[in-house]
């Protein structure tokens, strides 16, 4: 693994348009990836993970806006004209979607899907070469060549997801966003897909951003993990380190709430997911944090090493007043809903 980053993101914001005002789905996010690295992006539903994934590829709904610095393969992507950004999609940066059942054109055979994608990105290939590439990718994913000319509806959900992955891989992208690729599938199929992902890493070594809410997947498939909350990454680092020594209260709460055979009591995080239109002031986790101090709602915490954690607890130089516990109203049951 060489030291050159294939993707680096600095202070990226992606806001989209909502009925109550702009939704600050991604509000200042920074991370980077080397070739072959797998970064797991975890967080609750609605924390902005999917928007970030799509924002990297520029697939945003009408009225959305993005800024910050996004460097891919040396280029400043956000500064590129639309046509060139479009050219990057698929060939440079791939995306694997969450729901495989509806992601293939019902009127086109699988072979046509591959042919179309390869024709768009690798114009120098002949028809035969395209077909070989496609069959290779499918074989790597466990789809036999006899099914090459079938229609999407003739495959199960798990198979369709594998086809989607093969389709993404056939274009040999350097970076892939996998947006909750196994959420819609049952656990057996999930295990299959994860095994395949590990296989892909060995063979093609793309950089992968694996978006998920399942910490188990992160533990198994990822090198690094970034924990996202309310549009910001509150902690990131190597998976082993983070799982062993989480420094942000939110990460700690997430890890505590996972269930294993040894679980005696259920832990949950009190309160409700934050409103991304008007996120809490200062540290966004403070309304739900059991260690909240007076300084937390007042100022946005800086990042502290070793995990770039955004938490005031890690600041040694706090005044006594700042360190005093924060008084909060009892979270009433109705608010939880």
């Amino acid at each position: 693994m060489n030291g050159e980053h294939v993707l680096s993101v600095e202070d990226m914001r992606v806001w989209y348009s909502g009925p109550g005002g702009p939704v600050r789905a991604v509000d200042g996010v920074s991370f980077s990836l080397r070739p072959g690295e797998v970064l797991g992006l975890v967080g609750e539903s609605g924390c902005g993970k999917s928007t970030l994934g799509r924002g990297l590829l520029g697939l945003l709904p009408r009225g959305a806006a993005a800024d910050g610095t996004l460097r891919f393969d040396g280029q400043d992507v956000l500064a590129l004209p639309a046509k060139q950004r479009e050219a990057l999609r698929g060939g440079g940066m791939g995306l694997i979607f969450q729901e495989p059942m509806t992601r293939l054109d019902p009127l086109m055979r699988i072979s046509d899907h591959f042919d179309e994608a390869l024709k768009t990105h690798e114009k120098s290939l002949s028809k035969k070469e395209r077909q070989t590439r496609a069959l290779d990718a499918l074989r790597a994913l466990g789809i036999p060549p006899t099914r090459f000319r079938n229609y999407p509806h003739e495959f199960s959900g798990g198979m369709r997801q594998r086809i989607m992955i093969a389709l993404a891989l056939a274009l040999r992208p350097k970076f892939i966003v996998a947006d909750e690729p196994t959420t819609a599938l049952d656990v057996l199929v999930e295990a299959q897909i994860l095994r395949i992902l590990a296989d892909i890493r060995e063979r093609f070594s793309p950089a992968i951003l694996l978006i998920t809410h399942n910490l188990g997947i992160v533990a198994e498939a990822c090198d690094h993990v970034a924990v996202m909350y309310a549009g910001r990454i509150v902690e990131q680092g190597p998976v082993r380190d983070i799982f062993a020594n989480p420094s942000h209260p939110y990460t700690q709460a997430l890890l505590r709430s996972t269930i294993s055979l040894k679980t005696q009591n259920l832990h949950s995080i009190p309160g409700a997911p934050p409103d991304l239109v008007a996120p809490p002031a200062g540290c966004r986790f403070h309304p739900r944090c059991e260690h909240a101090m007076q300084v937390c709602p007042a100022k946005q915490p800086p990042q502290f090493q070793p995990h770039r954690s955004e938490c005031w607890l890690l600041e040694p130089a706090l005044t006594g007043a700042e360190r005093a516990p924060l008084e909060r109203e009892e979270v009433s049951v109705a608010d939880e809903a």
Binding site: S17, A65, A66, P302
Partner: protein, 337 residues
Amino acid sequence: MSVNLPELEGTETALALSGGGRKHSRIPGVDAMRATAGFQRGMLVAGVVIVLFFAVLALFAPWIAPYGFDDDRTADGKVFGRLIAPSSQNWFGTTAGGEDVFSRVVWGAQTALEVILLAVSISIVVGVPLGLVSGYLGGWLDRMLVLVTDALFAFPSLLLAIIVNIAIVGGTSSQVGGILAAAISITVVYVPQYFRVVRNATVAAREEPYVEAARALGAPKYVVMLRYIFGNVVQTVPVIATLNAGDAILTLAGLGFLGYGIEPSAGAEWGHDLSRAVSDTAAGIWWTGLYPGIAIVLIVVGVTLVGESLNDVLNPLLRTAKVSQVVLPERAAEQPE
């Protein structure tokens, strides 16, 4: 022993329509109207204005029309003359039978509105309960009714109306029947529409969890139907009614054109006038056909505009998405880095 069932606030439809917090109106259709915006609201307003215009014409026909619909002379006995071009005495000219075109157009509005209101009301009164009961109870009754209505659907509505009209009126050469006969002929054609829409909505609503809950609490069938399903299903009826009204007007005009529907001595009817005007055109006479024709077009456009804009609102995909472009503000100086 009556069970105290909780009041239901609304369904998906109602909530979607109440646009974030506003009071959900019990009157079907009002919510849909409130939710329109921009171009759709313009369509709605234009349509309502047109319909009201014709309603006024119809209601105040005796005062607006200068002459009776089959008068061929003024009150003091001055004969108009046949096929006179538009003049100060006859604003729209006269017909081959010497009647005043303008008056016939105005009286035609009254005829049209009477028949349509009657037809639509009867259709709703018959079709909606039938659809509700059939959809909810299911079984062989439902299956049979669906088969019958599907068959009726496939058949040209004009021909159906003609046949029914013949049957009602007895088929003898002299009578063609009055307003009621015409209305019933049209009703038979449109009852299947209401039936089908309400039945399908009922079948869908029947599977909803809240209905299951009501039944689990012991609610008798008719209470479930009336209180839970009816309220949701009925929201779609105004849209169907307006779209139907337009079609019904065209059917009535078609009947009149072919010599069915309203008997000439019972009232003026636009379609009938157009049938007489066809032979006039060969001689270049345009006023006998143009004005009744424009009247038909105008009122159908008005009614359809109302129906279309309501329909757009109820279909979430088509609702004018009030999407405003997000503008990212300058970076807040929150980061003490």
